[in-house]
Each structure stands twice: as structure tokens, then as C-alpha cells.
């Protein structure tokens, strides 16, 4: 399982040379092999690369959790803050220097448990920050307790007889707060995600990307790759992402459609 020093150096070299991935830092991700976050990062890297953003003009403000470690895996300015507070910090960064492209990157526990109070206000301020919400329905870094998005019945060490608390739907929440760019994306589809991420970055105002991801280490039952793969699908062809009512009605019925759910420029 351990990658030898030499193989590692080789890998880094390859990555550096491939133009597509130049945003990745020399510290390789310490995520578990198979973690959904690799796929999310890939889509993000592509988008950044294709938009030709200068690395020194990118700031990644990240939360606490496996997701938050993202700050160390990018060749960009990174600020790994305390648990749940990435959005206020990102607000400060962007207001200080609007020329920076600011990403807020954190997990579902970070953003929807301890940090849930900041999302509505981030939406209200509509500061041009791109929020990458890595939702694996678990507290990965603290070893797999249920999170606010865990399905009813989820068994974990914090819910030995199964979760009984209604899960939250971050996409719906963002819509109800009045968000102007809401995308729902599947970690396993970086190609599809790239274009949407680019569109969100270009959106003038706050954008939220709700990524469905898989924690292969602590979740062998619920949001597994297989379960995700079997369920995700594109938005219907007739879908109109400029219509809020339409979007909300759709989201109330379909939990697994992926794409730009709502956009209002």
C-alpha cells in the first residue's frame, strides 16, 4: 500500500509535467485511496486550468475535515481555518481583494453541522466566492459518525441503532436562502463537472457546488460508489435552471439529478 519515495517523486513529476494538473501541489493528497475527493479535485483542477487562472491569484479557504485538507494539495494560496467557519473567512478574503478567485472548500459536517449558520448569510451577502461542499454524508476525519446529510437509518458509532434525524438537503437549503448559482455534482464525473465549475467560477456572486461523494473508509453501506453510480443521472432535458420555482419543485422530487440546478445572473 505504501508508495515508495522514488515512485512518489516520479508521480509528482508526471503531474507537474501534465499541463492539465499543474495546479496540484507537491504534497500529494493524503486522502484514502478511492476517496471521492480525488474525483472532485480532478474536475476542479481541470476548470482552473482551462480558465487559465494564475495560481497566485487563487485562495482556497478550507474547513476542518478530510475535505479541508484540500488546502495543502494545491499549488495556490491556502488557508485551512477552524471547523465550520470557512465562509466568513472567505468573505473577508474576497472583500479584501476582489481580484482573487476564492474557493471555500469543506465537508458536510463542517458546512451543515457546526457551520450551518453561515451559509444563509453567505448567500445574502452574495460575495463572489465559490463554495465546494464535499458531501459524503459522514464525518470522515473523526472516523465516520453520521452527519447532517446521513439518511435515516444510517448506523454509525454515533447512531448505533440507526439515525433518526431527518437529513438536510443542502441544494434545497441554498435555493431557499436565495442563492444565485446552485450546482449539484457527482464526484465520480470530473469531465462533466469541469464545464459547470467553470460556469460557476465565472458567475458574479456566490456559487455553491454541492458534490455527492463517497467515503470509502467509513461508509460501506450508504453513499458508496456503487449506490451513487446507480442513482445519479443528468437533469431532465426540459429542465429550466433559470426558474426558481421549477428548480425547487424538481429538487423536492429528485435527489440525484446532477447539473446546474439554478442560475440567476
Amino acid at each position: 500500500m505504501k508508495t515508495s519515495g522514488k515512485a512518489l517523486a516520479e508521480k509528482v513529476k508526471q503531474i507537474k509535467e501534465s499541463d492539465m494538473l499543474s495546479i496540484r501541489s507537491e504534497s500529494l493528497p493524503t486522502w484514502c485511496p478511492g476517496c471521492g475527493y480525488f474525483g472532485i479535485q480532478q474536475g476542479l483542477n481541470n476548470a482552473i486550468q482551462q480558465l487559465g487562472l494564475s495560481h497566485h491569484k487563487i485562495v482556497n479557504v478550507t474547513g476542518i475535515g478530510c475535505a479541508g485538507r484540500y488546502a495543502f494539495f494545491n499549488d495556490a494560496y491556502g488557508l485551512h481555518v477552524v471547523h465550520g467557519r470557512l465562509l466568513p473567512v472567505a468573505t473577508g478574503v474576497k472583500m479584501a481583494n476582489p481580484e482573487l478567485t476564492v474557493f471555500a472548500v469543506g465537508g458536510d459536517g463542517d458546512g451543515l453541522a457546526i457551520g450551518a449558520g453561515h451559509l444563509p448569510h453567505m448567500v445574502r451577502r452574495n460575495v463572489n466566492v465559490n463554495y465546494m461542499l464535499f458531501d459524503n454524508s459522514t464525518f470522515g476525519l473523526t472516523k465516520g459518525q453520521i452527519s447532517p446529510t446521513s439518511p435515516i437509518g444510517t448506523v454509525s458509532k454515533a447512531s448505533p441503532s440507526g439515525n433518526v434525524d431527518t437529513p438536510l438537503n443542502a441544494t434545497l437549503m441554498a435555493l431557499s436562502y436565495g442563492a444565485t448559482f446552485v450546482a449539484r455534482l457527482y464526484a465520480g464525473d470530473p469531465k462533466h463537472n469541469t464545464a459547470i465549475i467553470k460556469e460557476g467560477i465565472k458567475h458574479e456572486g456566490f456559487s455553491i457546488f454541492h458534490f455527492y461523494s463517497s467515503c470509502v473508509t467509513f461508509d460501506k453501506v450508504y453513499k458508496t460508489w456503487n449506490n451513487l453510480k446507480d442513482n445519479v443521472h443528468p437533469l431532465p432535458p426540459t429542465y429550466d435552471h433559470a426558474n426558481l420555482k421549477h428548480a425547487i419543485d424538481h429538487v423536492l422530487e429528485d435527489d440525484f439529478s446532477m447539473g446546474i440546478i439554478y442560475k440567476n445572473d
Binding site: 491569484k57 467557519r85 468573505t91 449558520g117 448569510h121
Partner: protein
């Protein structure tokens, strides 16, 4: 009564125009050349039923504190103001409405509550107001007129102030109010004659030129703006709210940005974000908000990002008494937050220092890449003084950041260990200096690390850096007449004024008493402080908290147990309380 130092209280409900009258009085007296210190007290509920008291002291030198007793009580509402009579000085002047509209029940008039020594001046305030302006509410202006007449002041200092106050309301309103003021003035002159009481010493004209009458809060806001503040994030809380409200108005006019946040955690979070991105940023709060900020302040310590936080202390614990003063957040300011989190804590002691220290705080935060907490308290935030503030200067606006050298490009170590403890700091947008910062312990290039060596080294660096800041912090200031002292007072924050006045009085009496003012709370000048302690037989630390928080912090520097004078009345400490204690202690020493 001292003719060049008087303390005046106006008392009534807010419906009686109490606070407005106090404001006019202070402004006019400042114009007349008096030094002013003034402080209002009002209830923490909104509706206008509670008691309001404005207290002002006028004199010739800079006022250090209030006097213990009230020389003049202006009653706008006897049912409120009779509670103030215990605080009257001997032979005090009491000005009241001797023809109130409603019939007052027996004993309801303030006249029934004052001692036989008091000089009672009944003036038909409401009647005069009704006659002159047909507005009952104008009684506060009639009272001001009466005051001016009694003390032989020049009404022309008052008229422009009144005009200015009502200038947005139109000429008619101005005229009416001036008329009522004049009615109060003339009626009193007619009834009581020119020398009813000893006239006030007329101060030198234009003595206050250049001075402005400002509150501590306004001075803080002005200082921050003059220092080129760029970002303000905040959430309302008494008594810090006015700083935020001034910023909301002024900062955008100067090209900065103001954002109301959803809470205090978000406020300090955004300050950290803004500072990280290279801008001068601050917030202001009170104890409950400071508590919420503790985790984020610790992040600022760990990531070495500047942040300036005003903690406008109020009576605690918990919600406490939001509108009353206390110095009880010192512990939380110095020690709040997880782990060993050294940060700078400083405390101004008067309105002028509010201005100076906020400038200093913003600069220190940048230079030392650290959170700086500036401790004020309700009394200091809300009191007004007429002071000569420094001009805005390029020195105040100076960028104090220490940036990395171009030679470090491409091989930049954000957390390089240096002698000073300060590592040159790049900000996002700079090419060739990309780095990461984290609340995790980290290597010198900002990557997470958990080895004993790195943690020890980095802890040492962070502490050394803050200790080095001592060189840039305001030094303790001593007020002693002799080398060896029977008693040394050590004080901080808003209590310094009263302690100094007490010290000067004691010294006049020939007592061997000295005083040390400590403006840097953390880090503190321990050599300086223990030097002073060594020269004193006893040390007394008076402060407005229950356990003696400064005494807890620095007490170990003394060879003996330090003595404490702790008050939690919600009110500023009285000069007489300090003197009494000083005399007690000296009596014991000398017997």
C-alpha cells in the same frame, strides 16, 4: 464649591430630554473653554420609562475622573432625581421645577429630599417652556438657561450650540428653543439676581481650540479611520455598537468596506480573512462576543494573521448588565481560547488614548502578525471628553507589514524561524510566494506537522514574537514624588483616572504614595512593574472586577501579597473609595 471644578448632573427620563440637555451642556461648556468629562447612564430596556442621568464635570485642567460628589443637580423629573440626592456635595445647588404641571403628592418634590445645606433654586421650567414655545418638552432648555444664569456664564456660548443641534429641524424650531433657553436664563436672573451662587471661573478664551468633544467610541472609530482602516466587520452589542455604526457610515466614504455580519464568530472570521489577504481590518464587541471569538483568535495566533478586536467590557458574567461598566474581561482577553495562544492585549485609559491605541493596535497587529485585543469598558467607550486628537498622518497609515524579500521567490518559507520571531509575510496575489496557512501545527512552509521538535520550536517562536512586541507597546507610566514609597497603586484602563486623582491628592497631603499605570496587559513590562513594586512597601491594585484580574496576572511579581480594591458596582470607581483605602493601608503601615 470650587469655582473652577464643578460636577453637574441632569436627571429625568429619556422622555424629558435628559440626554439631549447633557449633550448641549457639554458642548457649550467646551466652547466656553472648560475641560469636559461626561458620562450618561441609562437603563438597558428600550422604552422611555427608566431613569436617565447625565453626569458632567467641568474644570480647567484635563479631567482625570469624576468627583465623588455632585455640585449641581438639575432635576427634569423629581420622581427620578430624588434618588440622586445622596450623592450631593455639601451646599450643592439643586435646580428644579417649582411649578410642575400636575399636582405633586406630598414629599414628591425633590425639595423634600435634600439636606438643609442644599441651595434650592426653583424655576418654573415647564411653564416657561409653554409660555415661550408652547412645548412642554422644552423644559430641558429652560433648565439650561437657568443654569447659565445662576453660574454667571455667557449665554452666547450656548446659543450657537442650540442652533446647531436643531439645524436640521428648521429655523422655527431653532427660534423656539432659543426662546425657551432665554426664558430660563432671564427668569432665573430676575428671580435670584446676579450672584446667587459663586460664579464659575471664566476660563481662557479659545483654550479649547482644536479640541473636539468625543466619546471613547468615536475616538476609536476616528483613530481607526485615520490609520487607514480598510475593512470593518461587526455585529451589534452594547457598548461597542457605536463604533460599528460610525464605521457603517464613514468607512465607505473613505474607500473602505463595511459589512454587518451574522454573529461575532463570522465577524472575527472575516477580519482574519481580510487581514490574511493584506488589508487593515478590525471588529469590536463586548464580553459575550469576545467569548465566541476565542477559537478564531487562537487560529489567528497559530496562522500568525493580524486582527484587531476591541472588547468594550460591560458588567458580567454572561449577559450581565449590558449598560454598566466593568473591567472583568481581562482574564478572557489574555487567556481565552485553546492551548498556549499568546496575543497582544492593551488597554487605553482615556479618550485620547482610545484614539492613539487603536492606531497602535492596527500597526502592531500587522507588524507582529497577531490578534491584538484592545480592552475598553462601558465607562470609557461612552464617556466624552474634549481632547486634542493628533492630525491624521501618513505615519498612522504606514503599512507595517514585513514582506518577504524577492530573493525568497520560489523558495518561500512562510513560517521561517527568525530571531525576532517574525517571519516575513506574503499575501495572496503575490507571485512566487504561494503558501498554505493552517490552524494545525505546521512546518516552516505551512504544512501540517506533528513532531515534538516542530511543535516546540513553533510554540517558542510564537511566544518569542509576542514577547518582543513589548518593545513597541506603550510603557508603564509612573506618578510618584519619591523613590521609596509606603504604598504604590497599580492601575489599568478606565480606572487610571480616578486612581491618579486619588494619588495626587494623597501626595498633596504628604503621603508617600505613588502610582503606576499599566497600559500593556499582555505581554506586560514585568521588569518595569517589579522595579516599581520593589520600591513600595505595599501594592494596591484597584480595579472594577470581583477577583482582581490584573492582580491575578501580575501579583506574583511582588514579594508580598498584593492588596486589592475590587468593585463591581457597574459604576466607575470613585476617587474617595480609593483614598479611603489608601489611608487605611497607610494607617496600618505607620502604626
Amino acid at each position: 464649591m470650587l469655582k473652577n471644578d464643578i460636577t453637574v448632573e441632569i436627571c429625568g427620563t429619556s422622555g424629558d430630554g435628559t440626554i439631549a440637555a447633557g449633550g448641549l451642556l457639554n458642548e457649550a461648556m467646551s466652547r466656553a473653554g472648560f475641560s469636559v468629562i461626561a458620562y450618561d447612564s441609562y437603563p438597558s430596556e428600550i422604552r422611555g420609562f427608566g431613569r436617565c442621568v447625565t453626569k458632567s464635570r467641568f474644570g480647567l485642567e484635563q479631567m482625570l475622573a469624576f468627583s465623588d460628589k455632585v455640585d449641581v443637580l438639575i432635576s427634569l423629573n423629581d420622581s427620578q432625581s430624588y434618588s440622586r440626592t445622596p450623592f450631593l456635595a455639601k451646599n450643592a445647588v439643586v435646580l428644579f421645577d417649582n411649578k410642575p404641571l400636575a399636582k405633586v403628592k406630598e414629599g414628591g418634590s425633590i425639595a423634600a429630599h435634600v439636606g438643609p445645606d442644599a441651595n434650592l433654586f426653583g424655576v418654573p421650567l415647564i411653564n416657561l417652556a409653554l409660555e415661550a414655545g408652547a412645548v412642554r418638552k422644552g423644559k430641558n432648555l429652560a433648565a439650561l438657561g437657568a443654569f447659565v444664569a445662576l453660574f454667571g456664564l455667557d449665554p452666547d456660548f450656548f446659543r450657537p450650540v442650540i442652533t446647531n443641534k436643531f439645524k436640521t429641524k428648521g429655523a422655527e424650531v431653532i427660534e423656539t428653543n432659543i426662546k425657551i433657553f432665554d426664558a430660563g436664563f432671564n427668569s432665573t436672573l430676575n428671580n435670584y439676581g446676579e450672584q446667587a451662587v459663586e460664579a464659575l471661573f471664566a476660563p481662557v478664551k479659545n483654550k479649547n481650540k482644536g479640541k473636539i468633544l468625543v466619546s471613547g467610541n468615536a475616538a476609536i472609530a476616528k483613530g481607526a479611520l485615520d490609520a487607514g482602516l480598510e475593512l470593518y466587520f461587526g455585529y451589534p452589542i452594547t457598548p461597542a455598537t457605536p463604533i460599528m455604526e460610525i464605521m457603517a457610515k464613514e468607512l465607505p466614504l473613505k474607500g473602505g468596506k463595511f459589512q454587518l455580519m451574522e454573529d461575532e464568530i463570522a465577524s472575527i472570521g472575516a477580519v482574519i480573512g481580510g487581514s490574511y489577504a493584506g488589508k487593515r481590518a478590525m471588529t469590536a464587541t463586548s464580553g459575550p462576543g469576545l467569548a465566541l471569538m476565542a477559537e478564531m483568535i487562537s487560529l489567528g495566533v497559530m496562522t500568525e494573521i493580524p486582527a484587531v478586536i476591541i472588547d468594550a467590557q460591560r458588567a458580567g458574567p454572561s449577559t450581565g448588565i449590558p449598560t454598566k461598566t466593568e473591567q472583568s474581561d481581562l482574564h478572557a482577553a489574555v487567556f481565552g481560547g485553546p492551548g498556549d495562544s499568546p496575543r497582544i492585549v492593551i488597554a487605553p485609559t482615556n479618550v485620547k488614548e482610545c484614539y492613539e491605541y487603536i492606531v497602535k493596535s492596527l500597526q502592531l497587529a500587522e507588524k507582529y502578525q497577531t490578534p491584538v485585543i484592545m480592552l475598553t469598558d462601558c465607562f470609557l467607550n461612552n464617556r466624552v471628553e474634549n481632547v486634542l486628537l493628533p492630525e491624521k498622518s501618513s505615519d498612522q497609515m504606514k503599512d507595517c507589514n514585513i514582506y518577504p524579500d524577492n530573493s525568497e521567490k520560489g523558495n518561500y518559507k512562510r513560517y521561517k524561524i527568525t530571531e525576532s520571531g517574525i517571519s516575513p509575510r506574503a499575501v495572496p496575489g503575490m507571485e512566487g510566494f504561494v503558501f498554505s496557512s493552517t490552524g494545525l501545527e505546521h512546518t516552516n512552509d505551512g504544512k501540517p506537522a506533528d513532531t515534538p521538535q516542530i511543535h516546540m520550536e513553533m510554540n517558542e517562536k510564537r511566544h518569542r514574537k509576542i514577547l518582543n512586541a513589548l518593545n513597541d507597546l506603550p510603557e508603564p507610566e509612573e506618578f510618584s514624588t519619591e523613590k521609596l514609597l509606603d504604598l504604590g497603586l497599580i492601575t489599568w484602563g478606565s480606572s487610571v483616572g480616578a486612581a491618579l486623582e486619588a494619588t495626587l491628592k494623597a501626595q498633596k497631603k504628604g503621603l508617600k504614595v505613588g502610582m503606576l499605570k499599566v497600559p500593556a496587559i499582555y505581554p506586560y513590562h514585568s521588569d518595569h512593574i517589579s522595579n516599581f513594586m520593589n520600591r513600595c512597601q505595599e501594592i494596591l491594585i484597584p480595579e472594577l472586577n470581583f477577583t482582581g484580574q490584573l492582580a491575578n496576572l501580575i501579583g506574583h511579581l511582588h514579594k508580598k501579597v498584593v492588596l486589592r480594591l475590587n468593585q463591581t458596582t457597574g459604576e466607575p470607581i470613585l476617587v474617595c473609595d480609593i483614598i479611603n483605602r489608601v489611608e487605611d493601608i497607610l494607617a496600618k503601615i505607620n502604626k
